[in-house]
């Protein structure tokens, strides 16, 4: 068990696995995402309430899912960094924080644009959008702190503390923003998917969510590989690898 755990923590081992996995992730991700989006854009029936603007859902929801799950996975990795000092865990956090930021921004942007035809305004202080905005701030803080600390190991551990503090706060923020929202504007019309979404809308959404997760997997492998190269460039295995062609 522990041996397996340590093997998982070895950058060299990960490098090999990632290299083999990446083509599959890329091809699978692109295919699924393309299928989901084309289906959603062109073939899924239009929503009887919102019309065609609802088609934004096929990128909004996957982005929002990723934005949240990236933060959660960062928190898990942060815990591993602090408790077991596993090298790969802090490589992971550093590699995916900017990706999380981009997906959070995408979720916000698509949410705002969706709001224009739906509510007639670009920005609504809706509970979901506001929580997303705060999540964006959290990502921003994590990245800023990481950039501000020169020493790699200290940066990784400081970031881990911050991420964990953030993850404890996320449910509290979510709850308080929901409460604040009901206090200030009684719920009128929500951006949420209706509970009875027909299969023709639900399936393309599922496809694009899966596709985007696979692409995220590819991005994670690639960015982690880059980070490992930077950190381990003085080890012999990296040297041999790079001189042998750098794949």
């Amino acid at each position: 068990m522990w041996q397996w755990f340590h093997k998982l923590g070895s950058p060299k081992w990960f490098f090999g696995i990632a290299t083999r996995l990446m083509p599959w992730l890329l091809i699978g991700g692109l295919l699924l995402l393309a299928a989901g989006l084309v289906w959603g854009l062109a073939f899924a029936p239009k929503d009887y309430l919102q019309g065609n603007s609802y088609r934004i859902i096929f990128i909004h929801v996957p982005s929002a899912f990723l934005a949240q799950s990236i933060y959660i996975s960062m928190a898990v990795a942060a815990l591993v960094t602090l408790v077991w000092r596993m090298k790969l865990a802090d490589v992971f956090v550093k590699a995916i924080a900017p990706v999380g930021l981009v997906f959070t921004f995408l979720a916000l942007f698509t949410g705002a644009v969706w709001g224009k035809p739906t509510w007639g305004t670009w920005w609504v202080w809706d509970a979901r959008l506001t929580s997303m905005l705060i999540l964006l701030f959290l990502y921003g803080g994590v990245i800023a702190l990481d950039r501000a600390i020169n020493d790699e190991k200290s940066a990784a551990r400081a970031v881990a503390v911050l991420v964990l503090v953030g993850v404890v706060n996320i449910p509290i923020i979510k709850y308080s923003v929901d409460w604040w929202n009901t206090l200030h504007q009684p719920a009128t019309f929500k951006l949420t998917e209706k509970p009875t979404m027909p299969m023709e809308m639900w399936l393309p959404l599922l496809l694009s969510v899966l596709g985007l997760y696979l692409l995220f997997g590819w991005l994670t492998c690639l960015r982690m590989k880059t980070e490992i190269l930077v950190r381990e460039q003085r080890t012999r295995w990296v040297k041999e690898l790079v001189l042998a062609g750098g794949k």
Partner: protein, 241 residues
């Protein structure tokens, strides 16, 4: 055991209890602060000035001020606390007392709790005491002022506690002040929401006991978790310097 055969130096088994160590940290911080009394006034002045900006910058109308007064006071108090946080560990870090603090044979989180408590007594509590005066100036009614002060009384320690994590994380960095705000403001949002929300609910005649209890829960949560996080962050920052 010893080749000299006359070992006089013996290992120390027992030390001071953590409570008296905390008391020592607390009293030293208070003493240092009172040696430089004018610094204690700065957050208060800042608080008053920020509140003054709103009637000047937005509108002096009674209806506007009544409606947003609690929010203005809360935001101003939050910023004042934020501004003072940079000093929480900075001076100790510069003169080396923080090294000695970290090396004390005591649970570090308790010592940090003592420091944070001192910080709150020296900055947060005066803000709470000053709030009624400013509340009158923004035309809040008596009941709202009482509720506002209660929320500030429960909320400002939470601000200090959460802030101690940020202060510890950014210790010794170049642009620590700005970075500290970036890290901490998102974490302050729930406190702000419930602080102002409670006052608003009171204004509508709702019972606020539940809200105050919830803020109390925030305080308990911050009291139990923040010192641990701050201690971990402090060790990391010390290791980096």
């Amino acid at each position: 055991m010893s080749s000299a055969g006359r070992t006089l130096v013996k290992p120390i088994e027992q030390g001071v209890g953590p409570l008296s160590a905390m008391l020592a940290v607390f009293s030293r911080d208070v003493r240092v602060a009172f040696r430089q009394r004018q610094d204690l006034l700065n957050p208060l002045l800042f608080f008053v000035m920020v509140v003054t900006l709103f009637p000047l910058g937005v509108s002096p109308e009674v209806s506007f001020l009544q409606q947003s007064g609690a929010g203005i006071l809360w935001v101003a108090a939050l910023l004042a606390v934020l501004l003072s946080l940079d000093h929480l560990f900075r001076h100790d870090f510069d003169d080396g007392t923080l090294e000695q603090l970290v090396l004390q044979p005591q649970p570090l989180f308790l010592l940090i709790l003592a420091k944070t408590l001192a910080h709150w007594i020296l900055t947060g509590l005066p803000l709470v005491l000053l709030a009624p005066v400013l509340g009158v100036m923004v035309h809040l009614d008596g009941n709202s002022i009482v509720i506002l002060c209660l929320t500030l009384l429960i909320g400002t320690p939470v601000l200090s506690l959460i802030g101690s994590i940020g202060a510890a994380l950014t210790l010794g960095l170049r642009s620590a002040g700005v970075l500290l705000s970036l890290l901490i403001i998102p974490l302050y949002i729930p406190v702000l929401i419930f602080g102002t929300g409670t006052v608003a609910a009171a204004g509508e005649g709702a019972s606020v006991g539940g809200y105050l209890a919830l803020m109390g829960a925030f305080l308990v949560l911050a009291l139990t978790l923040a010192p641990f996080a701050a201690a971990a962050a402090l060790r990391i920052s010390m290791s980096n310097s």
